[in-house]
């Protein structure tokens, strides 16, 4: 299959300027090869703004630190806007080839679990997350799906939870509008809110749970004594990256964590079985 050289090993992050935090990224190269780092910069709506073909060289088994504000300034972009950035590590031997004819085995070896790191910071505080394997979302390789149970929603006078949902792809011209169904449930398992949203290709959608809850009368009745409830979500037509940001808004303190894939809970939740469960949820939502 043909894969664009910049799409072999990717790490996608969204900036959080709307929370008054800057962004820095640490890429870790465990591909087995020295590589060159590139970046695609999109708006939060997924519109492509700029391609930066060469940010620097990353040696095998080494890390590479990128200050996103500097990168934006160097590329004459307004640093107070929010962006989605997809960084790529291109193994050096592929650097002069536009599309690489690559088999699945080598592609997955190069994608591998890299554990790249994104951190958000201001002058006093920082918070971040390491996460692993990016979605492929490639028509020839597979689009995948999202099956998310997130028992980690906290909302109170002080606390808010936002889901940051990213829709990247290993496809150079990615055009999939992903349909995400989500619901909030109380600890008894009763659904009290159900919604559907579209996540544009290469975009970032911020689901602000507190704002969503404000639509419901007496939403506090559905939150338990620890300010907790559960979110479940399903997306049939692509794999998405869901990151959870919990915020103490009064003190401007935040925390971010990735989700656990279904296979982490049940080691046979793959292939046809996962597809069946995704289909069941989508039909019975």
């Amino acid at each position: 299959m043909l894969v664009h050289r910049t799409k072999i090993n990717q790490f996608t992050v969204a900036t959080l300027n709307f929370l008054s935090f800057k962004t820095r990224v640490c890429l870790n190269n465990k591909t087995g090869y020295d590589g060159l780092v590139n970046c695609f910069i999109y708006g939060h709506e997924g519109e492509k703004i700029k391609e930066v073909p060469n940010i620097g060289k990353i040696k095998n088994n080494k890390s590479f630190l990128i200050d996103v504000e500097n990168l934006l300034s160097e590329n004459f972009l307004f640093t107070k806007n929010d962006y989605v950035l997809t960084f790529g590590i291109v193994p050096e031997q592929f650097n002069n080839i536009e599309y690489i004819n690559i088999d699945k085995e080598l592609l997955f070896k190069l994608i591998g679990p890299q554990d790249h790191f994104v951190e958000y910071y201001n002058e006093n505080y920082s918070f971040g997350v390491l996460y692993n394997i990016p979605p492929i979302n490639h028509k020839e390789i597979g689009m995948g799906s999202l099956l998310l149970q997130a028992p980690k929603i906290f909302c109170s006078q002080e606390l808010n939870t936002r889901l940051m949902i990213l829709n990247p792809s290993a496809q150079f011209e990615y055009k999939t509008f992903s349909r995400l169904k989500y619901k909030l449930l109380n600890v008894a398992g009763e659904c009290f809110l159900k919604k559907e949203v579209i996540i544009k290709p290469n975009s970032c959608l911020i689901l602000d749970i507190k704002k969503t809850l404000a639509e419901i009368k007496n939403y506090q009745d559905f939150i338990d004594e620890n300010d907790f409830c559960q979110l479940q979500a399903v997306c049939e037509n692509s794999t998405l990256i869901p990151l959870t940001i919990i915020s103490d808004e009064k003190n401007n303190k935040h925390t971010i964590e990735h989700s656990m894939p279904p296979i982490a809970y049940d080691d046979l939740m793959v292939g046809e079985r996962k597809k069946d469960v995704v289909k069941w949820h989508a039909e019975n939502w």
Partner: protein
């Protein structure tokens, strides 16, 4: 279907901190056609010596979930314990064979999330557990965190280490210069008892000359038993990241 050993993560319970445990009934979410089957969420907690302090069972509904303040849970049982492990296993409540009911399921791991909460300055940190009790052995000569630790406004770096294994373990921690890997300073946790957690601190006098750090260890108690890295800032707010 097989139920894996309990998943565990460390709790912190003192004047400064509470730990909120939260889990969903993932069995009903991933096997949604199986309804009307009660599910038990079995919780246990150990103390700083790895001794079991309490065992409790909570029933989860179909698509239900549970959150627990560890501070409140221990207080209700009149138990004082500042650090230890919280263990969890979700189990279908049935006399029938699980293989027959969950005939498509594999080995199930009861992953939960932990929210560490400050009682005084409103910092919060959400993490997932890394390992089951027992876990796979650590077989490498060293472990290196992929996190780059900026020292900006940092007062202290605290490393929390859970020991998910069933024997005592010792771990040496090295703060290193990220570019060269050269060691700036080191500290160690000697003989962390099985099934508990301990922490060590690096104060800023050890690293104030460096803008970025990385963390290495010579060992981990189990294969995926990465430490939690707590950054404590000058205003005493904190953040915790696993590994």
């Amino acid at each position: 279907m097989l139920i894996a050993s309990p998943v565990a993560q460390l709790y912190i319970n003192n004047e400064e901190f509470d730990t909120i445990f939260c889990i969903g009934n993932f069995l009903s979410f991933f096997s949604p056609k199986i309804k009307n089957l009660p599910v038990e969420c079995r919780i246990a907690a150990t103390n700083s010596k790895g001794i079991f302090l309490l065992k409790k069972v909570f029933e989860l509904n179909y698509n239900g979930s549970l959150s627990l303040s560890i501070k409140k849970l221990l207080k209700e049982e009149n138990i004082q314990s500042e650090i230890g492990l919280i263990l969890c296993q979700i189990y279908p409540k049935t006399n029938l064979r699980l293989e027959e009911i969950f005939n498509e399921s594999g080995k199930c791991f009861s992953h939960f999330f932990i929210l560490y909460k400050s009682m005084t300055n409103n910092s919060i940190s959400l993490v997932h557990p890394q390992s089951t009790i027992g876990g796979k052995p650590f077989t490498k000569s060293e472990w290196k965190s992929n996190q780059i630790i900026s020292t900006n406004n940092l007062k202290e770096l605290r490393i929390y280490q859970a020991n998910h294994s069933e024997t005592n373990k010792s771990v040496k921690y090295f703060l290193c210069e990220p570019e060269t890997g050269s060691i700036i300073c080191e500290n160690s946790l000697e003989s962390i008892e099985a099934m508990t957690a301990k922490f060590i601190s690096f104060d800023k006098s050890k690293f104030f000359n460096y803008s970025n750090l990385c963390l290495k260890t010579n060992n981990l108690p189990v294969g995926n038993g990465k430490p939690l890295v707590m950054k404590i800032f000058e205003d005493d707010s904190f953040t915790i990241i696993h590994g």
